[in-house]
Symmetry: C2
Subunit: 211 residues, 2 copies
DNA sequence: ACGGATTCTGACTGGCCGTCAGATTTTCGG
DNA sequence: CCGAAAATCTGACGGCCAGTCAGAATCCGT
């Protein structure tokens, strides 16, 4: 296996082409954030970097392929979050640690929300590639979460009817979607820090069984 | 205010037209489920009921308008779920009640997932109309959930650092997204009933503070 | 069965997608 | 520094779909 960067036709590309490809990815991310997937046009992406649609198709077979790569890049940024999820949260420091995780997760989400939304939509609609990327990203966190939950179940702090894998998925699910609600909740009086504190309390409770 | 059904130009329509409009809505829902929003074409919707694109545009200014109406219809189906969320869950019967709520929610989700996904995407991307429909739907459940959570906080079963509104949002968030993961989790060994039981346990715990 | 109102559609314009042949720029041996 | 080969980029085009409109088809009351 190789980390070489390829054009759409599979050939390895040089420095200039890599720069063009990178600019196209950045432009895709920018327009995805500004306009959303439903109004994303290849013409616009190309125009954004002063080139023609044909150039885009040199590097990607279609828009999905570019977004998929952005989603993989997002997964890279998600990896450091695992550091916050090591077993051993205590009743005394667990809430603080949960808060630190939530802070890191919120920053991650702010950076990548546009791409992650599309990743999740396409995954839910059954696209194989997007499913794979999403699963890989989720398993990063879920592996750690599962260990912590198992620990809690073993220690009798958590009910045996909690399936560790499913519970881990539920925690990730809660994080993801609650942040999607954020702008609306702000209008109804829930500030970012309220969301942060509540989310931290919930995660702390679910994972450790402490109240 | 009136419940009359209008064409795209605002005129009230008769019985035949209402039937056509209904067929268009059903076809839209069907194709949305089968192909997803990104491949949804007005030509296909029209062809599905053996008519021309022009007919579609008689009744809806664009595809969004049709989906928005489907989303409103989904909200109607969500209303009965509130019955499951009345305060007074006890340590003895709470888990069973939570399970009944989850069952009802899963059925609701199965019926409307394709439309709800698009509703959520458009809402998250900032569309005013979809935001409104989503908020209204969520508030249905959240109003009841908030009451139950307040009760728990007042009784000292839940920590004061839980903001009732945000916690209610978190519960709804968890339900929504976890069901989006369902097909993938099935592949990894989490059956529908495992998800059901875990979700019920979590909701019971979050709402009542009992373990 | 006639006339007006309602409902439906053929046909068209304009715009974006995705392709390809060839133009432009870079690289490199000599 | 030159010229040719390789790498990169793009103008222009066919095809498909969105959305519009004038007028055709159907329905309904009398």
């Amino acid at each position: 296996m190789s980390d070489d960067i390829h054009a759409a036709d599979g050939r390895i590309i040089g420095a200039r082409a890599q720069a063009t490809r990178r600019k196209l990815l950045d432009a895709t991310a920018k327009l995805l954030t500004e306009q959303g997937i439903l109004d994303l046009r290849v013409v616009d992406i190309s125009r954004e970097i002063g080139t023609s649609p044909a150039t885009f198709y040199h590097y990607f077979n279609d828009v999905d392929e570019a977004i998929l790569e952005l989603a993989s890049e997002a997964t890279e940024d998600e990896k450091p979050l695992v550091d916050h999820l090591k077993p051993g949260w205590t009743e005394a420091d667990g809430l603080r640690r949960a808060g630190e995780f939530v802070d890191a997760y919120m920053t991650f989400w702010d950076t990548h929300h546009a791409v992650l939304r599309v990743r999740n939509l396409k995954a839910e609609e059954g696209d194989r590639h997007f499913r794979k990327v999403r699963t890989e990203a989720n398993l990063l966190l879920m592996d750690s979460l599962q260990d912590m939950i198992r620990e809690g179940v073993a220690a009798g702090r958590l009910p045996k009817s909690l399936d560790p894998f499913t519970t881990a998925a539920a925690v990730v699910a809660m994080c993801e979607r609650l942040l999607g609600y954020q702008p609306e909740m702000a209008k109804r009086g829930s500030s970012k820090s309220t969301i942060r504190d509540t989310l931290a309390t919930l995660i702390f409770g679910i994972i450790t069984g402490h109240v």
